[in-house]
Every structure is written in structure tokens, then in C-alpha cells.
């Protein structure tokens, strides 16, 4: 009955791992050829694959795991999806209802362990609850602010016979969807934006989730408002647009941070305004007189920054409602745009090519030259993530996928595989450091088994680069436990899994390696031995305001 329900929800892929408490599900799986099951090598991989699948397809990712350790291995993946509002339905087996609470073999309180990292969860102990619960789970995961929903189903319920039941009509009285835009608020927001002398718009993941990129661009152009994005909002606004401020936050571009810190009206759309965006909160955007906050989740209003105008609504509808009210612009606008251009000239992205070592930015620049905006980049966490965010000119949503909120190392490889299942027609690049890569490297099996055409760009600096950079700059220069020695030979490791790979140590070998990757059908890994001293810039020192960003040394 569960599998039938999944078919009814239009599920295409299930990422999962069998075990004692979900055996009945797997017994009947072969009867449902429409449900393609991907056998992962660790449950965390299943959750990240479903996450990558969901972000690349817009459809909910589906995960199976057994009870106890199986389900608990999902926790990091659920948290990753929860922090970044990714729709997911995880179906976990639970010990039979007759022994729940008796510390049975592989029993754990999965609902208790996952409550704080799921949008909602259900424990199913009776067969008659099932049709309603599965249907509700998909509804809750995909509507409003999306998120992961966990359904924990006792093994005896999975086995129970029941007449085929069509789901009841949804009745979830405690589930509130914020649909209607406050039109008066939208008018006020539009007037504030148009009337501002120095407006700035920042766009987050919510803009991408609501497919509001066109409304954002129209609004930015109508209001002549410089527009930047958060890390997760990358792609919501074209990086090469004349009004683009590129990425904001404590590793954002210099001209973005200058703009935010000097704005008089700041509109924040589909974002949480977290500490990575604001840096030291007390000094965030100090000249702003009117904060406008648009988000579908009302609890984001004033959670970190108190807005003068708040619109609790879907980003697309809210911006569409604002557009007609953009009237005459403040006469100071031309001077503001000139100032932004001057800051862009003054604080460009740059890096130093001095010590003859391979620079990660050169790798990414060559990659972008080939892929343009036709490829999906799935980044891991750390320096590799910020380099991949800053050195590609993403011009539309959905091309850059990464774990922004949770910052989960090991995310990239399984998420890239999930993205490739979702978009087999689009080139998928996985960018990872060697530290994060080995956390989930066992999923290479899945890449090889399904001959997934995913190219892995390993930015290998023999260390935990971001932690090393923080230790150097903010923790007394004490390098502690950041050197990764005794790592595998990644070329041999790939070959052991049955996939080709190559190693690059010099600038002139970048292009031939990418040529080889592009010629190869199926997975391919390039082990780029990059400069271990390469740093991420700009960066705002810990505890400082956005004004105090450090830039890369001039080359």
C-alpha cells in the first residue's frame, strides 16, 4: 500500500537502503517497476542524493531507510534539507508496533531524534492511517516553505493487509499556508524602493524555490535597484547583469558589501537574514531607514532583523504585486548606480598567482569557460564552495547547488549524483575538497553502477583549507589538526571503483584534464593538487561588521 501511494504521488526515484524493519517494503518493490530504487552505500548518501534530486528537479526527493542506525544515519541529510528548505519525504521502517518502547533490536526514537530537523513527522502504528499520512507528507513537504517530512512506519503496518484506500481529502487544520499578498504592504514596499536614494535588493533561496527570478529581474530593473544574492540565492539574478551585486554576506563581494552597508532601503526576499549574511548584527546595513522583508515564513520576520515593511507571502506573488506600484524613481538614483560601478572597479574579485602552485580559481575559470551556463555545479562545503560560488557567472536558478544553511561536508558527491538522476540531459559537475569528499566517497559505487555522467573536480589541498584559513587569520595562527595526511591516492581510488581519473599539478595540465573528462562518458574524477595556502577572499573577520572585509592581496 505504501508503494502504491508513492506511485500515486508521482514518485520516480527512491534512494534507499534495506534492513530488518523495512523488509516488507523491499519484498514488494519489484512489483512496482515505475519506482526506480537506487541502492546507496550509506543512508546519509541517500538523503543527500534525494536532496540533490529535489533541488535539480523541483520535485520531492524520496528516501527509504530501516530502523535504528539506518534512520539515524539520515539525520545529517534531513538537517541539510531542513536548513535549506528542500522538499523531501523520508520513509523509515520502525520495529513492530507491539514492541515499540521496549528497546527492541534496532529500535530508536526516530521521531524524537529528527523532530528538530524535519518540517513534520509521523509515527504510523495502524494501517488505516497510512493513505492519509503519505498524502499529507507529500503535501507538507512540497507546499509553503518546503522541507523534509519523515514517516516512521512500524513493520507490522507495512505487512498489514488492507483494502486499497484512496487518500481522504486533506484536512490538516494546523498547517497554515501564507498565500495572499497584503496589497497595501506591497504598494508601500514598492514606493519605498522607488523612493529610495540608495536601494539594494538581496535575494535568497526563496526566490529560486518560488520561480520568481523573472519578477525579481523586472522589479530590479524597474526600480533601478542594485541586486545581490545570498549563497543559496545564487542564480536568482544573473551575475553579469549591470545591476548585479553578486554574492552578499561575510564572504561576499566587496562591491556588494559596500552597497549593503550604504543602502538607505534594503529589500530582502526569500531569505533568513542569518549570521552569514549580516556578520556582526549590530553593524549590519547601518544606514538603512526602511528594511523590507519578503518571506513565505512569517517567523522569519524580525527573527534577526526587524523590518519596517513585511510581506509574508510567496516571493513571486509579492514581487508581482509590487511591480505596478514602482513609480517615479528618486533623482539620486543615477549617482547611486555610478557609485556602485566605482566600488565594483575598486573591489574586484581577485587572487594571487605567485608561488607557482595550481590556483583553484584557475581551475574554476577554465571549467566555466567550457560549461558556461549549461551545467549544474554541486559544491561541497568549505573553500571549494565559496570559490565555486564566486568564480562562475551563474545566470539562472538551479545551476548552483550546495549545503548553505547546514554546511554539511560530504554533501557534494551524493547530491551531484541525485542531481544527475533528476537532469540526465544536463552536465553535472561535482566540486569538492578532499576532506569532504572522503566523508561520502563510498557513493562512487552508485556513480559507476549507473554510469552517471558526473565529473568530479577535487580541489585537493591536503588540508582542511577553510579551517586552516580561520586558524591562520582569527585563531592565533595555530594550525591544529588541519593537515590531512595519509589520504588515499584519488586516482587509484577511482580506478578501484571502476572509473577513470587523472591528476593535475600544473596550470598547463588543467585544459587537457578537462578535455579528457569531457571525452569520457560516465563518471570521471580529476584530482587537482592545488596550492595549500590558497585562501578565500573577500572575508569578514569573525565578530566584525561587513564594513571590515579583507580582500585578496593584489597580484
Amino acid at each position: 500500500m505504501i508503494l502504491e501511494a508513492l506511485e500515486r504521488e508521482g514518485v520516480e526515484y527512491i534512494f534507499g537502503y534495506p534492513g530488518g524493519a523495512n523488509l516488507p517494503l523491499y519484498q514488494h518493490l519489484p512489483e512496482h517497476p515505475k519506482l526506480k530504487h537506487i541502492l546507496v552505500r550509506h543512508e546519509q548518501g541517500a538523503a543527500h542524493m534525494a536532496d540533490g534530486y529535489a533541488r535539480a528537479s523541483g520535485r520531492p526527493g524520496v528516501v527509504f531507510a530501516t530502523s535504528g542506525p539506518g534512520a539515524l544515519n539520515l539525520v545529517t541529510g534531513l538537517c541539510t534539507a531542513y536548513m535549506d528548505s528542500v522538499p523531501m519525504v523520508a520513509i523509515t521502517g520502525q520495529v513492530p508496533s507491539t514492541v515499540v518502547g521496549r528497546d527492541a533490536f534496532q529500535e530508536s526514537d526516530v521521531i524524537g531524534a529528527t523532530s528538530s530537523v524535519t518540517k513534520h513527522s509521523y509515527l504510523v502504528t495502524r494501517i488505516d492511517q497510512l493513505p492519509r499520512v503519505i498524502h499529507e507528507a507529500f503535501h507538507i513537504a512540497t507546499t509553503g516553505r518546503p522541507g523534509p517530512v519523515l514517516v516512521d512506519i512500524c513493520r507490522d503496518v507495512q505487512q498489514a493487509d488492507a483494502e486499497r484506500v484512496t487518500p481522504e481529502r486533506l484536512a490538516i487544520p494546523g498547517y497554515r499556508l501564507n498565500g495572499h499578498v497584503d496589497l497595501e504592504g506591497a504598494r508601500q514596499a514598492a514606493e519605498a524602493l522607488a523612493g529610495a536614494e540608495r536601494p539594494v535588493i538581496l535575494a535568497g533561496h526563496g526566490v529560486i524555490l518560488s520561480h520568481a527570478e523573472h519578477q525579481l529581474q523586472e522589479l530590479a530593473e524597474a526600480a533601478a535597484a542594485p541586486t545581490g544574492t545570498t549563497l543559496l540565492g545564487i542564480g536568482a539574478f544573473p551575475v553579469k547583469h549591470p545591476l548585479s551585486l553578486h554574492m552578499t554576506g561575510f564572504m561576499g563581494t566587496g562591491w556588494n558589501l559596500k552597497a549593503v552597508q550604504n543602502a538607505d532601503v534594503l529589500m530582502m526576499v526569500g531569505m533568513r537574514v542569518d549570521d552569514r549574511v549580516t556578520a556582526k548584527l549590530a553593524g549590519f546595513a547601518p544606514k538603512v531607514k526602511t528594511f523590507i522583508h519578503v518571506d513565505i515564513d512569517g517567523s522569519e520576520m524580525g527573527k534577526n532583523v526587524r523590518p519596517q515593511i513585511e510581506l509574508v507571502a510567496d516571493a513571486k506573488q509579492a514581487m508581482a504585486a509590487m511591480l505596478p506600484h514602482i513609480g517615479e524613481l528618486n533623482p539620486g538614483r543615477a549617482a547611486w548606480l555610478t557609485q556602485i560601478d566605482a566600488w565594483r572597479e575598486e573591489h574586484p574579485l581577485r587572487f594571487k598567482r605567485s608561488n607557482g602552485r595550481l590556483q583553484p580559481q584557475d581551475v574554476l575559470i577554465d571549467m566555466y569557460r567550457r560549461a558556461r551556463s549549461e551545467a549544474i555545479v554541486v559544491a561541497d562545503v568549505g573553500q571549494n564552495q565559496i570559490w565555486a560560488a564566486l568564480w562562475w557567472n551563474y545566470d539562472r536558478p538551479g545551476l548552483f547547488i550546495n549545503s548553505g544553511g547546514a554546511g554539511t561536508m560530504g554533501y557534494a558527491l551524493p547530491a551531484a549524483l541525485g542531481a544527475k538522476f533528476a537532469r540526465p540531459d544536463v552536465p553535472v559537475w561535482c566540486v569538492a575538497g578532499e576532506g569532504g569528499f572522503v566523508m561520502t566517497a563510498q557513493e562512487l559505487s552508485v556513480a559507476v553502477e549507473h554510469q552517471l555522467d558526473v565529473k568530479i573536480v577535487l580541489l585537493n589541498n591536503f588540508s582542511l583549507g577553510m579551517v586552516r584559513q580561520f586558524q591562520d587569520d582569527f585563531y592565533g595562527g595555530v594550525r591544529s589538526q588541519v593537515e590531512l595526511t595519509h589520504m588515499p591516492d584519488f586516482v587509484k581510488l577511482s580506478e578501484a571503483y571502476g572509473m577513470p581519473a587523472t591528476r593535475v599539478e600544473r596550470f598547463e595540465d588543467i585544459a587537457p584534464a578537462f578535455d579528457a573528462a569531457e571525452r569520457t562518458k560516465g563518471p570521471f574524477l580529476i584530482d587537482f593538487r592545488i596550492d595549500p595556502e590558497a585562501n578565500v577572499y573577500p572575508i569578514v573577520p569573525i565578530g566584525k561588521t561587513l564594513n571590515e572585509f579583507w580582500e585578496a592581496p593584489e597580484s
Binding site: 521521531i111 523532530s115 518540517k119 494546523g174 498547517y175 497554515r176 517567523s299 524580525g302 527573527k303
Partner: protein, 155 residues
């Protein structure tokens, strides 16, 4: 500190996970429960909670908003600062010789036994606090005190 306390009336679904979810949300956001009472609501399958929550450094309205995000929560009414009827209940066992003073304060005898007399007293938080202080002077055998039950006053 009382400026940090929100008084909320919360209508919830009677589900196995409801209290865990509510207490989890409160803990995770750095809030602290100062008083709680739970009882069935008029609607079958629903419960009504009265919560006194210290929201610490977070914005006052965050408590309501974070609770509203939970699917198990049907309605949250913030009663902070409103004109309300608020009652707490205390049940205490005292030695029979000490009864007189408590009865003068309005306590009611529930039962009498060889090892003591059990009384009940209800009132506003301060009154109940004062009553408990009084009990301390009279040799309490045992005492149990409820959280608040709050309802908005009709105009």
C-alpha cells in the same frame, strides 16, 4: 524579568508527539517555560495549553510564530498584557492544628485523615504564591501546585 514573559493560550491536536514538539521548539529557540497547564479543549481530539514562556533575547513575538509553525498547533493566542482571568491551583496537606489560618485565607478542605488535612486554594499567581508562603509557616506535609489557566476577560 517579567517583561520577557509571554502568556499564550495554545490550541493543539491530541497527538502522541504534540508536547514533545512544543517543548522542543521552545528549547531550540532558547526560550524557557515558566508555567504550563494542559487540559482537554471543548473540541474532541484537541487540547488547550496555557504557557508562560520566557523568550530571553529573542523578539517577543517569536514564541507565537515559532509555535504556529508546528503542524500540531492549531491556534496560538498571545494574552500577554491583556485583561485576563488567571488561576493557579494548589493542593496541600497540613496538620489539622494549623488549619484555621489557611481557612481564613480562603482555602477549602478536601479531606481529613489521621496524618493531616488536605486543602485546596486557587487564585492569581501572586495570591497562590502568598498562600504557599503562609503554608510554610504552618508545617506542610505535602504540596502540589499547578501552572496557570488563563482566559481573556470579556469586555
Amino acid at each position: 524579568m517579567s517583561g520577557q514573559i509571554r502568556i499564550l493560550s495554545v490550541e493543539v491536536e491530541d497527538a502522541p508527539n504534540t508536547l514533545t514538539k512544543i517543548s522542543g521548539a521552545i528549547r531550540r529557540r532558547g526560550f524557557h517555560v515558566r508555567g504550563i497547564s494542559v487540559g482537554p479543549s471543548r473540541e474532541p481530539g484537541r487540547f488547550r495549553l496555557t504557557l508562560q514562556v520566557d523568550h530571553g533575547h529573542a523578539e517577543a513575538d517569536q514564541v507565537r510564530k515559532q509555535l504556529e509553525r508546528l503542524v500540531e498547533v492549531l491556534e496560538v493566542t498571545d494574552l500577554t498584557g491583556d485583561e485576563v482571568h488567571s488561576r493557579e491551583l494548589v493542593v496541600a496537606k497540613v496538620s489539622a492544628s494549623e488549619l484555621e489560618a489557611l481557612l481564613r485565607r480562603g482555602a477549602k478542605v478536601i479531606s481529613t485523615a489521621a496524618d493531616g488535612t488536605t486543602v485546596e486554594f486557587s487564585g492569581e499567581r501572586d495570591e497562590v504564591g502568598a498562600f504557599v508562603d503562609e503554608l510554610a509557616l504552618h508545617g506542610i506535609v505535602d504540596v502540589a501546585r499547578s501552572g496557570p489557566v488563563v482566559m481573556r476577560r470579556t469586555q
